[in-house]
Symmetry: C2
Subunit: 184 residues, 2 copies
């Protein structure tokens, strides 16, 4: 079965600092046409970071204007043009958490919302974290608070809705899988 949609026209709607928006007219497999609304994004990285004793998850509290509230999320950031994801990961780890990892293990690569956006995210598990020697400057419009939570406190933060985004829930569930493997 051929599912491909052929692009008939592409109309650029918006060029932003973080996203672009375009509207496409496509030809469906049955010959009919349809409209597609597509958000273009450069991609992002996120980092599952545990404290040295492996018993706490490192999170960042920040304001999220689309949600009009603060959230607790794992450290993350946008990939700059021509930057490789692992370089972004090292940079964000320094900027947001002031740590550096001896090894970054890529545990998942995924699209955050494939119905309307092409944002691709690289999720890393950071191994052997150490304080950074040289702190990179932080983004001028970013206000962050570092938080370390035990598994029990993490579950509470999920319950209370302060942990409320897909990448962070993925990190929490992956951490649970790691713990069951360590026990098994």
């Amino acid at each position: 079965m051929n599912f491909e949609e052929k692009v008939l026209t592409t109309k650029s709607i918006y060029h932003g600092r973080i996203i672009n928006l375009e509207e496409q007219t496509v030809e469906l497999p049955n010959g009919q046409t349809a409209q597609r609304e597509i958000v273009r994004h450069h991609g992002a990285v996120a980092l599952l970071c545990l404290t040295a004793a492996q018993d706490k998850l490192i999170l960042v509290r920040q304001w999220r204007q689309p949600l009009s509230k603060t959230t607790l999320e794992i450290p993350a950031g946008k990939i700059e043009i021509n930057e490789s994801p692992s370089v972004t990961a090292e940079r964000e780890l320094n900027e947001e958490v002031r740590l550096t990892a001896k090894r970054l293990e890529k545990i998942a690569v995924f699209y955050t919302s494939p119905g309307f956006a092409d944002e691709k995210m690289y999720l890393y598990l950071a191994h052997d974290l150490q304080p950074v020697q040289k702190k990179l400057p932080q983004d001028a419009d970013e206000f962050l608070e570092l938080v370390e939570l035990t598994m029990e406190e993490t579950d509470q933060a999920v319950e209370q809705g302060e942990i409320c985004d897909s990448k962070t829930l993925m990190a929490v569930w992956y951490w649970k899988l790691l713990q069951t493997q360590a026990k098994g």
Copy 2:
């Protein structure tokens, strides 16, 4: 610490069928101003469905125009205006998979991309699935293929990148957690 960003102006950029786009000027906690690009979305549901023997994951193969490729995803769909998420879930289960659940267990609620979008997703575990008596009509512009994969085949589909979105990876990891609990 107060993180709140005060909205100074909101400019509507685009009204689409699935998303709206707005640009905000906000006042930061330090008194400076910044631009925010915000995609508005009605929200969506997704369903973790296992076969009767609990040994296969039910997935949908479909074309995703933002990615210009087909993907394997768990059944999902957009919440209509004034529709409650559990009603959406029952509807999508019928439309996409031709099944009905005796019970829908909400296992996660999350934002897919809180940096630029307010899309909220409700992830359900479907219990006691049965074939539907009355099939609802499918969306005219949706072409779907149902696929059932064992855990091993699912891991391969992740490896090969055909399973490549956050909600489906979450479902896979939750299924793994369920299996370790069943064994433990």
